[in-house]
């Protein structure tokens, strides 16, 4: 058997799953978004669903909200993760324990995290009651709105809580593989601690940060459950909007749901492309 054939055969199982599920799903979604659904007698493709989506004001608010959620969560997570990795790579007593605790919530599902946020930060949650108990506020309901709020604070908190260890683990592995000699060189050439971080360590770990943050951004932009649980009713995040149309009693709303899903996919691809293009140039200068 030729090497080429072997490679093709070995890749086939994985590739067929990807092609069938991913591209198959995408294709069906695409067809439905064009109002092409022979089962219920729609056989004339058209762009009506897209027109409906783009003429609906809520779509634009939802896009802004989703972008804000993803951008802010990714940015805060990256900064905190790099900071944590910088601390965790040092040798100190109890490092193994701290390291374990740091990575612990990698295994906790997002939904559980969301319930935690509800318990702790909602206006009837633990912190609200505590604040009322110690007379910081009069009633628990006076607690600042951090869940179901227009700025999506609760959602961002949940994502940050969950993604910091994810990015942190990648960045930490990256830093440990590099060792500290590059930084030693920079220091001895006259770079201050900050310059060493900015001009040497950051560019060196940047590939790790880049891939981790792309994953986080794409995930948070397309994820449904956390905004559904912790988000305000209006505007809703894009995936929530899509799901609402999908479960609408009116079957005719389904093409709109599919159009939204396709738009979400295209938007994340475009934003990630722009991000990779420009951030690489800026960091490595």
């Amino acid at each position: 058997m030729s090497d080429r054939l072997k490679i093709i055969l070995l890749l086939l199982p994985a590739m067929s799953v990807i092609v069938l599920l991913f591209f198959g799903g995408l294709l069906i979604g695409l067809m439905r978004s064009f109002n092409y659904m022979p089962v219920i007698g729609l056989t004339e493709p058209n762009l009506q669903a897209y027109v409906n989506v783009f003429t609906n004001e809520e779509f634009y608010w939802s896009f802004l909200l989703s972008f804000h959620i993803s951008f802010t969560s990714t940015l805060i997570s990256c900064v905190l993760a790099v900071g944590a990795a910088l601390l965790l790579r040092r040798a100190f007593i109890g490092r193994a324990v701290i390291n374990f605790l740091f990575q612990l919530n990698l295994t906790v599902p997002h939904l559980v995290g969301a319930i935690g946020i509800l318990y702790l930060f909602s206006q009837s949650g633990v912190f609200a009651r505590l604040a009322a108990e110690v007379d910081l506020i009069q009633r628990p309901a006076d607690f600042p709105a951090m869940v179901f709020d227009p700025f999506a604070i609760g959602i961002i908190l949940q994502y940050v809580w969950k993604e910091v260890p994810f990015i942190g683990v990648i960045v930490l592995a990256n830093m440990q593989a590099l060792g500290e000699n590059y930084e030693s060189v920079a220091r001895s050439l006259g770079a201050s601690k900050w310059q060493t971080f900015r001009h040497v360590l950051l560019p060196l770990i940047f590939p790790g940060i880049l891939s981790a943050s792309v994953i986080v951004f794409a995930f948070t932009f397309g994820a449904y459950e956390i905004p559904a649980l912790l988000g305000a009713n209006y505007p809703a995040a894009l995936p929530v909007l899509a799901y609402r149309s999908y479960t609408d009693v009116d079957l005719a709303a389904r093409p709109e749901a599919m159009a939204l899903a396709i738009i979400i996919a295209i938007l994340s691809a475009v934003m990630i492309f722009i991000y990779i293009r420009y951030s690489r140039k800026r960091v490595r200068s």
Partner: protein, 344 residues
């Protein structure tokens, strides 16, 4: 020009039984090129890192022109360290690598460009400024690392095994480059190496460190002629150590009475001489009759294992002198008195 004084420098790593470096004292004259020589793990890299400020000493002091630098941050010490594996920043062009130190000092970019050009000329790689480090050979990377260090005009330059990653034919080229740059710029330079050849070839003076302690600090040739003890002599390839007693310029031992050079140590000790100083044939004094135990041809030289009575002697001689020698032959040899040395 900076005089470097290392005083009782000691490093004990947390949890270690023995110090990694034990009270090292060295005076390095300004502009001198000094080698710290020793096997791996003997404390030489620890010493360099402490001078560079990358590691805190447990005790002792490092002084530049009589001013302690231990409180200075690494970036303010005027010390630059060049690592063994060069560590050029992979995401920068060669020119940006060379100009890094100046950029950190906020030198303006036209000036950086001009001086980077000068440095690249100096290390004889004027056309490589736009390349990535990964596109350079090992020898070229080494030169760029050197240029990157020298552009900031350090008072003291530290080199970690500067020749050991290079092919044999590049070593002499690099040696000449390092020596000429170092002398031209008058930079006091310290390098560490585990390779005695590298130390001998490059350094004005060599400090031999064994097990965290300095054994001897001298010009390179002294280590061959006048080693302080057996470990030092062995590190430099010494093989012959014969116990006995030295008195009044005569060494009395299993080889009989041998005359010594002036200034030899008196009392009980070991006689030592270099294998290459054993002469075949009769000569002035110290003539012996030896039995050939083995002849090992090494190409440019021949190693003879000889026996005088019960004592084994290692000799390295010119192959032409010993053509036809076979194990079992008895041959005359002599040991020139000025090549004999007694260690206590």
């Amino acid at each position: 020009m900076t005089h470097v004084s290392i005083q009782e420098l000691t490093k004990v790593y947390p949890g270690a039984d023995a110090p990694a470096l034990d009270r090292l004292s060295l005076e390095i004259a300004s502009g001198e090129l000094t080698a710290l020589l020793g096997p791996s793990g003997c404390g030489k890299t620890t010493t360099m890192k402490m001078i560079a400020g990358l590691l805190e000493p447990t005790s002792g002091d490092v002084r530049f022109d009589d001013r302690s630098i231990l409180r200075d941050k690494p970036e303010h010490r005027g010390v630059v360290m060049v690592f063994q594996n060069y560590l050029l920043f992979p995401y920068m062009s060669v020119a940006d690598n060379v100009g890094f130190g100046l950029k950190m000092r906020k030198t303006d970019s036209a000036e950086i460009k001009r001086r980077v050009g000068e440095m690249l000329d100096l290390v004889k790689l004027p056309d490589l400024g736009d390349r990535r480090p990964s596109a350079l050979s090992g020898g070229q990377q080494q030169r760029i690392a050197l240029a990157r260090a020298l552009i900031v005009q350090p008072e003291v330059l530290l080199l970690d095994e500067p020749l050991s990653n290079l092919d044999a034919h590049l070593r002499f080229e690099m040696r000449d480059l390092i020596r000429s740059l170092q002398q031209e710029m008058g930079i006091t330079t310290i390098f560490v190496t585990h390779d005695q050849e590298e130390a001998v070839v490059l350094a004005d003076r060599v400090a031999l460190i064994l097990d965290g302690q300095m054994k001897q600090y001298d010009r390179a040739d002294v280590f061959y002629k006048r080693p302080v003890d057996e470990a030092t002599a062995r590190f430099f390839g010494g093989h012959n150590f014969i116990p006995g007693k030295s008195a009044g310029g005569i060494f009395d031992g299993p080889l009989g009475r041998l005359s010594l050079a002036d200034g030899a140590v008196e009392g009980a000790g070991k006689l030592t001489f270099r294998p290459e100083n054993v002469r075949v044939g009769q000569g002035d004094g110290n003539n012996l009759s030896a039995k050939v135990a083995d002849v090992i041809y090494l190409g440019t030289q021949t190693r003879l294992k000889l026996r005088v009575g019960e004592t084994e002697i290692d000799a390295v001689v010119n192959p032409n002198e010993v053509e036809g020698f076979k194990p079992g032959d008895t041959v005359p040899i002599h040991l020139p008195p000025q090549t004999l040395w007694v260690i206590s």
